[in-house]
């Protein structure tokens, strides 16, 4: 459906994106995830035709659209600012794209009504965007982008301005609409929860190149690089030289030797290990098992459904572990941390 081939964009001497390539299949929900300045917005704008690539090609339905202006591409887009026209009513906003796509007035009216139904706002047609709440504005923005059945829907951080509760609600809602309409979607965000919860495929961007293109599960469970491991989800990091023992490897960390189950690390390598906080068990008693390290609790953050416990290890580094809610652990306690060799991510 969409093919991006060796897309490169320079702003003067500054390289925003370098040789980025990826494909999106019909109906797929793909997320470009990365920190601000990683080039994700530039990529999205280039696909929309709002940014001219320095090099590379963009193909939509097999047709090279690289040199086409935005209005010739049949793309739907929702912006972070919503970009609803403030001088038009909700109805006029949605009708604008339909008219520009050459629909006659009866078709426009019908489609506007259907679009308002789709986003659960059938009674808001006569309102001006300024009279709506942030969440409602985003829904209208989506209705406007979908009304003329674009080949692809581009979403530029549409949930960023919303508060947490609304954001979580909108995620589920957006996902439902996307599946219902079946529109191919490219979503740009710096929020890993957005990316993991909604996408079929996540593209992690760093400094203008892709670090990993994979399913959310693989991105989280098997990150391809230290950047992905550190950017997506929290984790505790260990590093040290590797010595292999059969199908296991032992990494000699300052704290203790850490055993890793069958991985790609080789004898003599310097390995970086990551352990997710939910894979670390915190206990007051030692059991003498593999991968048991000791430390002192420096912070306990109760988050309601769980607690995040920060432990200072003997070498001064910190480890992060999740426990059951409101654990019987206090700052200053000496604790033992345990984790399964199978749950260690080795890079």
């Amino acid at each position: 459906m969409l093919e991006v081939r060796d897309f490169t964009k320079y702003y003067g001497d500054l390289c925003a994106v370098e040789n980025l390539s990826f494909d999106i299949d019909e109906g797929e929900f793909v997320t470009l995830l990365g920190p601000s300045g990683c080039g994700k917005s530039t990529t999205l704008h280039a696909i929309a035709g709002l940014v001219e690539p320095t090099d590379g090609q963009i193909l939509l339905r097999g047709e090279d659209v690289t040199d086409l202006p935005p209005e010739k591409r049949n793309i739907g887009m929702a912006f972070q600012s919503t970009a609803l026209f403030p001088h038009m009513t909700v109805r006029e906003n949605i009708a604008f794209g339909l008219k520009m796509h050459g629909h006659d007035s009866t078709a426009v009216e019908e489609r506007v009504e259907e679009s308002l139904e789709l986003v659960d706002m059938p009674d808001h047609g006569e309102h001006k965007p300024g009279e709506l709440s942030g969440g409602q504005q985003q829904r209208v923005s989506l209705a406007r982008a979908l009304a003329y059945e674009p080949d692809i829907l581009l979403l530029d951080e549409p949930l960023t301005g919303l508060d947490r509760v609304l954001r979580e609600e909108m995620r589920g809602w957006l996902n439902r609409i996307q599946k219902e309409v079946g529109v191919t979607t490219l979503y740009v965000t710096h929020d890993q929860e957005d990316a993991l919860s909604m996408s079929d495929t996540v593209i992690v961007l760093n400094d203008g190149h892709s670090e990993q293109i994979d399913s959310p599960e693989r991105i989280y469970e098997s990150p391809a690089s230290p950047f992905v491991a550190e950017f997506v989800g929290k984790s505790t990091r260990f590093s040290g030289p590797v010595s292999r023992e059969g199908d296991r490897a032992v990494v000699n960390n300052h704290n203790k030797a850490i055993t890793v189950e069958g991985t790609g690390v080789e004898d003599g390598d310097d390995a970086t290990l990551y352990v997710r906080p939910e894979d670390i068990e915190v206990s007051r008693t030692a059991e003498g098992t593999e991968n048991e390290i000791t430390g002192r609790v420096v912070n306990v953050a109760n988050l309601g459904n769980r607690a995040e416990v920060t432990v200072e290890l003997t070498d001064g580094n910190e480890a992060l572990a999740h426990t059951n809610r409101f654990p019987d652990i206090d700052v200053g306690d000496d604790v033992h941390l345990r984790f399964d060799p199978e749950r260690v991510i080795a890079l």
Binding site: L50, P70, E71, R73, Q80, P86, F96, G97, M100, Y148
Partner: protein, 287 residues
């Protein structure tokens, strides 16, 4: 040895301390409103009794005289020149403002070029145009072309549009510059060409600035005195020239006052009509 000199900060600080707590917002408003009241409203109101011949058989004789043909012509001309100048100025100002808002990175340079003429006295600028258009001036000497525009209506309109252009550029540029770039992007992605985006999105959103600019230019142009005096002939006399003539040449204060009162009423009337069409509060509130 250390000496303590009074600094600007120090002086401002001690004045601030002195005034601290004694000045409220209503005091501040009083200064501004007081100035306007004493030097604007009061003098205008004084024109009304001045224009009426109390104790004579015909108290409104000055007003009857003002209905004569040449004065009616001057009123009509003032409004027509005002309208034409406004149209020409808005068109030019819109082009310049659009260029500054969307077409260049050198906004400050362009803005300076627009603003600098404001530092030069009107009379100097009108004389420059006078020389430029003069059949015996340097332009004619250099090119051999003898422009025949001088002392005609187009000469006055050129002069007025030129002089009032900066007053139109500022509000129009402000409103264009305030348009969120994502709205323009959205319009393009929704299928509108650049031209269509200008017509359907950019222009409507710049209307407040355009209306404000139109008001300012119209009021300035319709009341102008120097432009027609320098660049126009006897057939380009506007109402300000008639008022000045009655007052300064003929010392007819009563008649000059009557003309001024009529002009003020016509102008306020025009603004009221304008207000019902455009709702100035909404328009100016958006700037």
């Amino acid at each position: 040895m250390s000496t303590s000199r009074p600094t600007v900060d120090g002086v401002a600080g001690s004045i601030g301390e002195l005034l601290e707590g004694r000045i409220t917002n209503s005091h501040l408003a009083l200064f501004g409103l007081g100035f306007v009241g004493v030097f604007f409203i009061l003098p205008i109101l004084l024109l009304v009794p001045e224009s009426i011949a109390f104790g004579t058989g015909e108290p409104l004789q000055a007003y009857r005289r003002a209905t004569r043909g040449i004065y009616v012509d001057a009123f009509v001309r003032s409004f027509l020149y005002g309208i034409v100048t406004t149209a020409v100025t808005l068109a030019l100002a819109y082009l310049i403002s659009y260029f500054m808002a969307f077409g260049t990175n050198r906004v400050r340079l362009t803005m300076t070029l627009v603003i600098v003429p404001l530092w030069i006295a009107y009379i100097v600028r009108y004389f420059g145009i006078l020389l430029f258009l003069s059949p015996a001036g340097p332009f004619a000497d250099l090119t051999g072309i003898e422009p025949s525009l001088l002392f005609t209506t187009p000469a006055v309109i050129i002069g007025l549009s030129n002089v009032y252009l900066p007053f139109a550029v500022l509000p129009i540029y402000n409103s264009l510059n305030a348009i969120d770039g994502e709205l323009i992007s959205a319009s393009r992605v929704l299928g509108a060409s650049q031209w269509r985006t200008l017509v359907s999105v950019v222009f409507p959103l710049s209307l407040p600035g355009l209306v404000a600019a139109g008001l300012i230019v119209f009021i300035l142009a319709a009341g102008s005195f120097l432009g027609p005096a320098v660049l126009g002939g006897p057939n380009q006399t506007m109402i300000a020239n008639e008022i000045a003539g009655a007052f300064l040449n003929n010392f007819n204060i009563r008649f000059a006052s009557a003309l001024a009162v009529i002009y003020s009423i016509l102008l306020v009337g025009t603004l009221l009509v304008f207000n019902t069409v455009f709702d100035l509060r909404e328009v100016l509130g958006n700037i």
